[in-house]
């Protein structure tokens, strides 16, 4: 068994706001195995983007990592044992610059704004290489161009057309693919993708998903998706983690979580998304709205919205426990949640 590429342990991040401290991420732990794709799913304000930015150490000045550890392990090609370990939270200066993009790259949310409007695509690649000390000196010119063009064709773009273009000359889907190629420039072993398909059209989304699948097969990097889109997770992830109020409340193999969810929130989310084949009556929305991260509810943070909440849920926050191999859930009522919610749904169904 090889060691995971990324191990996040008890990570806590707070934002300082005028009204108080925003507890965006609370004691969050998970691993990304070598070559694995993990999806963090959750709604706006669940803290999932903060996790992604925290992993890259790109948090804004108002944010503070108050605890935990992020360990990254570089794997040496061909060997099953892990290479050197890096504690990401201790990195500084040059070490941090090396870690970003060489080890772990990110495709940011909203492809439309992530590229510099006054730079050509070729200059984006040159800048990235320069900033992270890749292919320095005289070799840079042709070698960089060769590698960039190969990546651009891998994301199904025509390098000749794109190379000298400005971002505004490309469509949203093309820009998103440029960003993916750019992220892979320094051969990172971990790719973080924040909402990679949001705001794109269906056919473009499909194209991006296929590009990502192909790249992963060819290059073998690990991926961490951050998304509210359950369909993206269902399509691309090996494991899925549901995030609520800054904590993982359920994590497991993608098929198991979608087939046998145990947490009432995960059950609710899956039932709230209409699919092409689902019947009208099978859809139910989750009542209420996400919690205020400054004044979190007591006990289980989901209890104000949970039909199964009892006195214990209000008092104590449940820990993540393993309910079947590889499937962890944080709920006091996991044993009977699915059954109980079924009868609850029948009672409240709008005719």
């Amino acid at each position: 068994m090889t060691e995971p590429t990324l191990s996040v342990r008890d990570l806590s991040i707070v934002y300082q706001a005028r009204r108080g401290q925003v507890q965006a991420v609370r004691n969050l732990s998970f691993d990304v195995e070598r070559g694995e794709a993990v999806a963090l799913i959750g709604e706006s304000g669940s803290g999932k983007t903060t996790v992604g930015l925290g992993l890259m150490r790109l948090l804004p000045a108002t944010a503070n990592i108050v605890g935990g550890s992020i360990v990254y392990r570089r794997h040496v090609n061909g060997s099953s044992s892990a290479g050197r370990e890096t504690e990401v939270l201790k990195l500084q200066g040059n070490g941090l610059r090396q870690f970003r993009w060489r080890e772990c790259a990110m495709v940011f949310q909203s492809a439309l704004n992530a590229l510099n409007p006054v730079l050509r695509i070729s200059e984006h690649f040159a800048d990235t290489a320069k900033a992270h000390g890749y292919l320095s000196g005289y070799r840079q010119g042709t070698a960089l161009r060769e590698r960039s063009w190969r990546l651009l064709s891998m994301v199904r773009l025509d390098p000749e057309r794109v190379w000298h273009s400005f971002p505004h000359e490309l469509s949203g889907g093309m820009r998103q693919r440029v960003l993916i190629a750019l992220a892979l420039l320094l051969e990172p072993q971990l790719l973080i993708l924040d909402e990679p398909t949001t705001a794109l059209d269906i056919l473009t989304q499909r194209n991006i998903m296929e590009v990502l699948k192909e790249l992963r097969d060819k290059l073998g990097f690990s991926m961490l998706f951050i998304s509210h889109d359950l369909a993206l997770a269902a399509e691309l992830a090996d494991r899925v983690a549901t995030v609520y109020a800054g904590k993982i409340i359920e994590i497991g193999d993608v098929r198991t979580v979608f087939r046998r969810p145990y947490h009432p929130y995960t059950i609710g989310l899956i039932k709230a998304v209409p699919t092409l084949t689902s019947d009208k009556s099978s859809l139910v929305s989750v009542p209420g709205s996400p919690p205020d991260l400054i004044q979190l509810p007591t006990g289980c943070k989901f209890h104000p919205r949970c039909p199964l909440a009892d006195e214990r849920s209000q008092r104590e926050e449940p820990a993540l426990i393993e309910v079947e191999p590889g499937h962890h859930v944080a709920c006091w009522h996991w044993t009977h949640a699915r059954e109980a919610l079924k009868s609850y749904q029948a009672e409240t169904q709008i005719p």
Partner: protein
């Protein structure tokens, strides 16, 4: 048969961009009966939003007519004009931008009520506002009256937008991507709210969306229209369009949609397009505009002749030369 509420006759809308003319909407014909739940779906740039805006009277048509209860909205005057303006309301996509941040919910809802004299005096206005807030599930209403939009979540703001549209007792609401910016867990409750408006107040809704699964759910008893590059390429009963799509474009779209079910979505076989990129509106292909990408492209007829919408199987109408005309 009763008179249709809204009729679009050969509606075309062009825009001039840097001296070049683009056709955002091209010869759309549509009849909407009273109280219908209708969805327009398509990718960005297909003209669905422009169509919605023309129906709501926010954009004039370039050629063609839109009729409201049989009267052309471009020339409608007097009481009929007022009835149309009040009768068709729009709910915009972004609930963060469509509400005035300096006004309380009470102010936002009181303005149209008082301006159009639906209520007289403070106490009556307040009573009516509370009623409206209850209709859109913002309960208890007293908690919301003095709040400002920034104190509400996206879903709650969208409910306020709907309540505002309801102040003037409309017969039809155009909802442009009204649920795409709210969290997934509450989308369904917003859609259910629209369904209730129809059942209880007879309000018809045109939902503009890019999500076919959502469209099927929303227009369960109604219709779905699929648009591509300004043209309506297929329209029919919602479930039939999703389960038995007739137009190749609809088939491609449906095969491409990722589903929130790992088994189903990985078993899907997306239909391959002949070209992945959407043509620019500046250079719209000749004949059937889908022909350069169409998986069942059949040569000259597709390149030269614009296919009209015609009756196909399963109650749909499709604009494709290869769809067999259905004799009824």
């Amino acid at each position: 048969m009763s008179e249709p509420l809204i009729t679009l006759e050969h509606v075309t809308r062009t825009f001039t961009v840097k001296g070049q003319t683009i056709k955002a909407v091209d010869d759309v014909n549509l009849t909407i009966p009273e109280g219908e739940m209708l969805c327009l779906v398509g990718e960005s740039g297909c003209g669905k939003t422009t169509t919605g805006k023309m129906i709501a009277g926010l954009l004039p048509t370039s050629t063609g007519r839109i009729l409201y209860r049989g009267k052309d909205i471009a020339t409608i005057a007097g009481n009929d004009r007022k009835a149309y303006r009040l009768g068709v309301q729009m709910v915009h996509q972004d609930p963060y931008a469509s509400l005035n941040p300096t006004q309380t919910i009470y102010d936002i809802l009181a303005a149209p009520l008082q301006h159009h004299r639906f209520t007289r005096g403070e106490s009556e206005t307040k009573r009516r506002i509370c009623q409206l807030l209850e209709i859109v599930d913002l309960t208890p209403p007293d908690d919301f009256l003095e709040k400002y939009p920034h104190q509400l979540s996206g879903g709650q703001r969208q409910r306020v937008s709907v309540a505002r549209a309801l102040t003037v007792l409309p017969t039809f609401i155009v909802a442009d991507e009204a649920v795409s910016m709210v969290d997934v867990s509450i989308r369904i409750s917003l859609l259910n709210m629209f369904a209730r408006l129809k059942d209880e107040m007879g309000v018809g809704v045109l939902l503009i969306t890019h999500d076919l699964a959502l469209a099927k759910y929303f227009a369960w008893e109604g219709r779905i229209g699929v648009m591509y590059l300004g043209r309506l390429v297929e329209i029919g009963p919602a479930r039939e369009v999703v389960e038995h799509p007739q137009h190749p474009y609809t088939q491609v779209l449906l095969s491409a949609i990722p589903e929130a079910d790992p088994e189903a979505t990985r078993a899907k076989q997306p239909i391959k397009l002949r070209s992945a990129d959407m043509p620019s509106l500046l250079r719209v292909p000749s004949g059937c505009t889908f022909h350069p990408r169409c998986p069942v492209f059949a040569g000259e007829v597709c390149e030269k002749i614009v296919p009209p919408l015609k009756k196909a199987d399963w109650g749909s109408e499709a604009a494709c030369h290869l769809v067999q005309a259905h004799e009824s």
